[in-house]
Symmetry: C2
Subunit: 415 residues, 2 copies
């Protein structure tokens, strides 16, 4: 045990990103739930106070122009762009991920054109993508077919219009092959829509490099934008003039204040906007993105892999065999920035409480001891590693406390 504690200390001492933790408001909790809600960046509270008190309270309506409210969706989109490998002018921020999935999928089907009437959707996806894809299919006269990501190349036909894929699986943490799958989809004459919720801010995405056409993502996980902060939509530059939105709100009009009865879409990324942008949340996100100043996403990726490797090593060393099993791929090329551990059914004797899921009870005890992850039904413990503020000492402590919780409770009950 002390060897791993020493190893963690050495790794932390040598970590070039260790100083970034100061850019966040944190306590001594081991916070491994940044893949659900990122921690609070230190710059956010004062910025939000200024937005509320001065921009809204004093300047009021003038702030739409003077405080840059109106152009925030594109401006903040350009701030996210380098983190996902996109040049400027291709991302707008606004609406929820679900709404953006709808915009992107319907637009993809329209781009694909007549004769293509099938949408493929990642069968392992976070459910909302599947539900929204079902609606997009219904409303565009398409059929919807769930397919495991690895089987997408074999499932493509000349009727495939669009394919909705997750870059990283929300449950297992598996990283899918964005370059290869995108190329296969394009080869078949269809459009790929990538959901980057669990990859943006944790690893390089390379949207421009890999020729991705459309992508969406949330901003409250590894981008630390705050609870329910607005999502974003990427539309590749050469597709923008043919991007045909199913939600053509006035913000997407070529002349929004012309108040014209006829709709003429704006050029460029603003075409993907819809209604009035949600300024408080949007400007909190803008302040949150300042933590990325001078940070390379490649360095973040290197630390993320080192952290998850080290956590898995500690779990293997501390937790008796057979209690948990990693669902997260061992290979770096297939791993996102989280570790998902499945609780063994053998644990049920000591943990099951009135039918409640074992993993839920284990996570509750971990949280009670200052190690915060989350659980996903029925049996998965999720530990997200945000390299900007999680260290190797955190990883060691999380594994150690996990082992203590599992060992303490796995003893046979004595009557």
């Amino acid at each position: 045990m002390s060897e791993l504690i020493d190893a963690a200390a050495k790794l932390d001492a040598a970590d070039p990103l260790a100083g970034l933790r100061e850019r966040f408001v944190l306590d001594d909790t081991v916070y491994l739930d940044g893949n659900s809600l990122g921690a609070l960046p230190a710059a956010v509270p004062d910025r939000v106070a200024d937005v509320v008190r001065r921009q809204w309270g004093e300047l009021r309506i003038r702030s739409w122009e003077e405080s840059g409210w109106w152009t925030a969706p594109e401006r903040i989109g350009d701030r996210i762009a380098p983190l996902v490998g996109a040049g400027p002018g291709q991302i707008v921020v606004g609406d929820s991920t679900s709404v953006n999935v709808f915009k992107a999928l319907v637009a993809a089907v329209r781009l694909a054109g007549d004769g293509r009437d099938e949408i493929l959707v990642d069968a392992t996806t976070f459910p909302t993508d599947g539900y929204i894809a079902g609606s997009a299919a219904r409303m565009t006269g398409c059929t919807l077919r769930p397919v495991a990501p690895a089987e997408v190349p074999g499932a493509l036909t000349d009727r495939t219009a669009a394919v909705l894929l997750n870059h990283v699986d929300y449950r297992t943490g598996r990283l899918h092959d964005l370059p290869g799958l995108t190329a296969a989809v394009h080869e078949a004459g269809a459009y790929a829509v990538w959901d980057l919720c669990h990859s943006a801010g944790a690893l390089p995405v390379g949207l421009d490099e890999h020729g991705v056409g459309l992508a969406v993502g949330c901003t409250y996980k590894y981008l630390n934008g705050g609870p329910g902060s607005p999502a974003y939509l990427y539309v590749r530059r050469d597709l923008q003039s043919r991007f045909d939105s199913p939600l053509p709100g006035w913000n997407s009009h070529a002349e929004p204040f012309g108040m014209r009865p006829g709709y003429t879409p704006a050029d460029g990324a603003p075409r993907a906007r819809v209604g009035t942008p949600d300024i408080l949340s949007m400007l909190a996100l803008e302040a949150a993105l300042e933590v990325w100043d001078g940070v390379s996403i490649e360095a973040v990726r290197a630390k993320s892999l080192a952290l998850t490797d080290f956590f898995l090593e500690c779990v293997a060393a501390y937790v008796p065999e057979g209690r948990v099993e990693s669902l997260t791929p061992a290979g770096h090329a297939e791993r996102g920035s989280q570790v998902a551990l499945r609780c063994s059914p053998k644990l049920s004797a000591s943990f099951e409480q009135g039918g409640a899921p074992i993993a839920g009870e284990v996570m509750k005890r971990l949280i009670g001891r200052g190690v915060v992850g989350d659980f996903r039904r029925p049996d998965v413990l999720r530990f997200g590693f945000t390299p900007l503020y999680v260290g190797f000492g955190d990883a060691e402590r999380a594994a150690r406390v996990l082992a203590e919780v599992l060992v303490a409770r796995a003893r046979p009950h004595r009557a």
Copy 2:
């Protein structure tokens, strides 16, 4: 002039709502643009600071449960409900107005059923409603027909599925006959969708009383929720089980954390939710709604009419005839809570500057002298009267400054 100043002072002294102004952060500006962006309620800054620093910064992910984040859309919906005459459990807050118009219209068409394939839309509407109605029509196989509100009863046929109407016209301030038009639409077997952006918080709406089926509205005008604060959607209780959303995000699922691949809609108002709620903006709105504690919307309406009457009286007294013309109906039954004045083309000689609209130049000068309204192309000055924080003295001063601006500049140029 001094008579009207005295009259204003007396009216303010007798105003039972005068004390509500203290619930807002205001300066000596005459702020008549609350129909675009409501003023900052005094309770908001501290509440938002608490949401950011404690709920997000300290409790982090636990706040979804412990701080009531997850249930905010319904809880805040119930807070808005009495202001629009709705019983609890029928309103959810979230998304923009445009997105809610889409949800409501598509759901209305689906409620209307087969054989009904036409959507009527208020031809004088705020443009986004028309654009979104166009998309809803396109995606449900309907045709779209713009009709002036007064002509709706004559335009209804047995093919009409849905009618999208504005309660108050954003430009002229005209109040439409919600009870009568709703009854006519229902009589024809169609569904009315009401846009309450310019009425909610300014006058009684009576959604339940008049049997309205679906309604949407923004919260940043007379509800003072802040820039781009989330909109809301009302679905009448007996329609909820048949409400078929085109945006069935995971928040609308019967068991959102079940993460099931199949979609089963929630019962009740949450069925109209979509994605993760935007918590900072939503809880700012919740704090903003506290200004309504103990305030009756009937009293607000009475003051609103008195204010607009008095403003029109002052304009008539101060502004030389022929300079401006009111587009806002004189009859109380047809008036919202704003006064729209059209600038006479005769003003152009002295105001037109390089082709810029006259009304824009007039409004710029008014703002420079501390009277803030806005202008709508090509020639309309809009003055919104928010009875919670606008007084009769403000109305008198606004009319007086307007007259000074118009008279000063309307003198013939001397060469």
